[in-house]
């Protein structure tokens, strides 16, 4: 899942508590989980729908790169765009 760079395996950068704005945004957005997951998957997301659900309910830490993809998905969806 996390490819090896020149200096050996790169440690995923865990998002931790700071990025929970994404989870809050999801709760405010009135967005269906399955729709978000499909969009997020479509732009290259790597975690499955159940893990996404857990992350959005503050029950799971995921890599920062995935958080940023979730945020991107929500932004693009809120602009009324479809894939």
């Amino acid at each position: 899942m996390y490819p090896y760079g020149a200096d050996g395996p790169e440690q995923p950068d865990w998002a931790g508590e700071d990025c929970n704005g994404t989870a809050q945004r999801f709760r405010d957005a009135d967005l269906a989980l399955d729709k978000l997951w499909i969009y997020y998957y479509g732009i290259g997301g790597d975690i499955d729908e159940v893990s996404l659900d857990a992350y959005l309910h503050d029950a799971l830490d995921i890599p920062a790169s995935q958080v940023s993809l979730i945020a991107t998905a929500m932004t693009e969806m809120s602009e009324g765009e479809t894939l």
Partner: protein, 258 residues
């Protein structure tokens, strides 16, 4: 109280009891004939209205559903019913919305003596409505909808009529749940096929960036997302332009067997 609401518990729902032997088949045909839920609800309103209308006393039927937490008149058998539904949704209160929220049917036998919802009742009376029957559809939490029947005559809905409508909406609710399920599945399916196409382009661009910069996938993704957010261009479009700049290919096809 001039109006009385009740749960539907007292009525038998087997179709034969209320002279509805062919309704099941009719509803099934409507499910198969209609691609989307709005068309189905329109057909439903037409069937309900024609079933209850008698010569000299036409019944108007509208369907209101909760969409994005707000009531919306989505289907009707005629423009009059649609206008009456919209009117009530505009007021934000009325017999049909009360029935919708309480999940129990509600009858206003005579608008002239109705004390509740004064603002709405006054306007509805002016439109020539004398009695209203609101029958919520039990959609098992998947959606909320109410079937609204309006008549120009007071006491237009007999206990028999109410039982008929209750049995009818009960069967219609199952059909609606089926339509909703089908709609959701076909929507999810087309979303997924779009996602597959989009993901192919993005994965390809990420691979290209990895090769060019000798970096990890995560770094390549970072470059792509940064370009997307600083230029305010969708991730997929940035990815497509990366591929185009390398190979000149404008269209990337995903083999997806439908």
């Amino acid at each position: 109280m001039t109006a009385y609401g009740n749960s539907t518990g007292g009525f038998g729902f087997n179709s034969g009891a209320h002279g509805l032997p062919d309704v099941d088949m009719q509803l099934l045909d409507m499910v198969l004939d209609n691609g989307d839920i709005t068309a189905f609800l329109n057909d439903l309103a037409v069937v309900a209205a024609s079933r209850l209308s008698v010569p000299g006393n036409p019944v108007h039927c509208g369907v209101t559903v909760i969409r994005h937490k707000r009531p919306e008149a989505v289907a009707s058998n005629d423009a009059e019913a649609h206008a009456l539904d919209e009117l009530q949704n505009g007021f934000g209160d009325g017999p049909c919305l009360t029935a919708l929220h309480s999940k129990a049917w509600l009858l206003v036998p005579d608008l002239a003596t109705e004390q509740r919802w004064p603002a709405y009742v006054a306007v509805a009376k002016a439109q020539g409505v004398a009695s209203i029957l609101a029958m919520p559809l039990d959609l098992a939490g998947e959606a909320e909808a109410v079937l609204n029947l309006y008549s120009g005559r007071s006491h237009a809905f007999s206990p028999d009529d109410i039982a008929t409508v209750a049995a009818f909406t009960n069967q219609a609710a199952s059909a609606i749940r089926l339509v909703l399920r089908i709609t959701q599945l076909s929507e999810a399916r087309s979303d997924l096929s779009c996602a597959l196409k989009s993901r192919t382009i993005i994965d390809m661009a990420v691979g290209a960036i990895m090769a060019e910069n000798r970096c990890t996938r995560e770094t390549a993704f970072g470059i792509l997302t940064k370009a997307s957010s600083t230029r305010n261009v969708k991730l997929r479009e940035v990815a497509a332009s990366v591929i185009a700049s390398i190979s000149g290919e404008k269209e990337i096809d995903t083999y997806f067997d439908e």
